[in-house]
């Protein structure tokens, strides 16, 4: 199976990445090489093999259900690129 620039464009859109023409060319070639290499997995019959969902037998980790203080707003906004009136500011979704 080989992938085209059109596929790369589609995947970039899904991944929320904006690629320039040079990157599209490069990724098409490199992803093709990697996926071609990954084809070797098809040499194995895995019809009756269960997929690994977790390497160890683990149980859910539960914390006590207790109320506690939320983060102070100052901390919440400490790393935010833009803040206004106690909210993180982003461009409008609707024009």
């Amino acid at each position: 199976m080989s992938i085209s620039i059109k596929d790369v464009d589609h995947v970039a859109k899904l991944a929320r990445l904006e690629l320039n023409d040079e990157e599209k060319d490069q990724f098409t070639k490199q992803l093709n090489a990697i996926l071609q290499y990954a084809e070797k997995l098809n040499e194995l019959d895995t019809e009756n093999i269960q997929p690994t969902t977790h390497v160890l037998e683990l149980t859910n980790v539960m914390r006590e259900d207790v109320t506690r203080e939320s983060l102070p707003l100052k901390k919440v906004f400490h790393n935010a690129p833009e803040e206004e009136n106690g909210q993180i500011k982003v461009p409008a979704v609707l024009e």
């Binding site: 990445l17 490199q30 992803l31 997995l41």
Partner: protein, 485 residues
């Protein structure tokens, strides 16, 4: 002789006996960084003011009180994907170049409780993706043994800082070999614990089913000290294992008589440098001399591990890195047209090429129509790889082979060939997929560069792994050699 040539235990005793002050240790660390880090470039951020303040406080404690943590006063370097409250944490990515965490990772809380002193944050491949440190957004780190060579990755900065005597120990993270491979390339000791043994809370996620934090040190005993401090159940990590933590130091008996070692033929076959192979065979002879028995075994699905790993790790990475959207923290593009533009441009400007490549591969593997062929198939092959280890561990105590197929390569020599770069991890990746522990210890030199011996154990049997590594180390002198800088 430099203080850095002492074991952590000896330093601890000198502190307790008041022959040494913490501030002297911390001064020596910063002096050394001043002297050699322009050549090695291991650090991204130094925390000098806080480190010196902490040292002064610990010296005060030393005068007045007797309680001392296991890592009391010892200067540590922290890989820059472990969050540190108030100390910039970038993951070596432009995306997080201005990110100051508002909390500490669990391992940082534990190091602080053990009274270690954080010297600074250490370089890595961006978001832990890479095997050479050349994918850092800021600068590559250089191998202290020969600065024209890579230190390995992604914890290359951590391994180089320890090898160059800039810190007493460092924390790294290992997803497909990112502690063990750089430890091998830099001639130090690096342990990837069993998945779930050390909390991942506060480790910036790359591939959540594989990531694990572990210690990088100059010798095995020091490694056991650090592991003792950071291991343990954590309710803040939903994948944390609720198991008893043994006394790892008491495991270092030096006795390995009757120990059964499996040596996978796949780890010493095609693609392994003959000089690396020679060092491994010599190491097996040393272990045999100590009373262990070894025989060849097979891990038949080894050749499928690299493809399996890159599909799974990239899929998990594409999901984990979706949180970097330029909204709440990190890079945000200037003058976006709309919200979609914030996502697209911030991510495209903030991420480097390797990160984008893996996000693309992972998104493709998980996308409609390809999920079964790639992601699900890889999860099934992962089961086969794990079963290989389960079978071998029915008869053998440990599995031994090289950590990497070659010694370190030259900076720039593989950067345009991702597939070749990925194949450098052939000996470490299967272990990560199986979730079992493994350590890399120095076992020789080839053309002046260190060779690493990998000792792999059963899940949660770090004690045996450390015992074998320690017994080997006590019979050899490779770990005592120091690079000339």
């Amino acid at each position: 002789m430099s203080l850095f040539h002492n074991r952590l235990k000896d330093i601890h005793n000198q502190l307790v006996n008041k022959q040494l002050k913490v501030s002297e240790l911390v001064n020596e660390s910063f002096d050394r960084i001043q002297k050699v880090d322009s050549k090695v470039k291991a650090f991204l951020t130094l925390d000098e003011e806080n480190a010196r303040t902490s040292a002064a406080k610990l010296d005060e404690l030393l005068e007045h009180r007797s309680e001392r943590g296991l890592l009391f006063g010892l200067p540590a370097g922290i890989k820059d994907n472990i969050v540190t409250e108030g100390l910039r944490t970038t993951c070596a990515s432009q995306f997080l170049s201005n990110f100051d965490p508002i909390y500490d990772a669990t391992v940082m809380k534990k190091l602080k409780a053990a009274q270690s002193v954080t010297i600074g944050k250490i370089n890595m491949d961006e978001f832990a993706m890479g095997g050479s440190n050349e994918n850092s957004s800021f600068h590559p780190t250089h191998n202290p043994w020969n600065t024209e060579y890579v230190p390995g990755g992604s914890s290359g900065g951590s391994a180089a800082a320890v090898a160059a005597d800039e810190v007493y120990f460092a924390l790294g993270s290992d997803t497909g070999g990112s502690i063990r491979q750089p430890a091998a390339y830099c001639g130090v000791v690096g342990l990837k614990p069993t998945y779930g043994l050390v909390s991942r809370f506060g480790l910036v996620a790359f591939a959540s089913s594989l990531d694990q934090i572990g210690p990088i040190t100059k010798n095995v005993e020091d490694n056991a000290y650090v592991l003792q401090t950071i291991a343990g159940y954590d309710v803040m990590d939903s994948t944390s294992a609720n198991v008893d933590i043994p006394d790892y130091l008491s495991a270092l008996t030096g006795d390995i008589k009757g120990l059964k070692i499996g040596v996978p033929k796949e780890y010493l076959g095609e693609g392994i440098d003959p000089k690396v192979k020679e060092s491994i065979i010599k190491a097996l002879n040393v272990l045999e001399g100590l009373g262990a028995e070894w025989e060849e075994v097979s891990l038949p699905h080894t050749e499928y591990a690299v493809a399996t790993y890159y599909l799974l790790a990239s899929s998990e990475a594409s999901s984990n890195l979706a949180r970097f959207d330029g909204v709440r923290y990190g890079e945000r593009t200037e003058n976006p047209d709309n919200l979609l533009d914030v996502y697209l441009k911030s991510r495209s400007e903030g991420f480097g090429q390797e990160v984008k490549r893996r996000i693309m591969l992972g998104t493709y593997s998980l996308s409609s129509g390809y999920y079964d062929a790639y992601y699900l198939k890889a999860q099934k092959v992962r089961t086969l790889i794990k079963q290989d280890f389960d079978k071998v561990f029915e008869k053998f105590d440990v599995v031994i082979g090289p950590t990497a197929p070659t010694t370190a390569f030259k900076l720039g020599s593989q950067i345009d060939d991702p597939l070749t770069m990925y194949l450098n991890d052939i000996c470490t990746i299967p272990v990560s997929l199986a979730g079992v522990p493994a350590i890399s210890v120095p076992c020789g030199f080839a053309d002046g560069l260190p060779v690493g011996l990998q000792i792999i154990g059963k899940a949660f049997d770090e004690s045996t792994v450390l015992r074998v590594a320690h017994a080997y180390e006590q019979s050899t002198e490779f770990h005592q050699k120091r690079p000339q800088l």
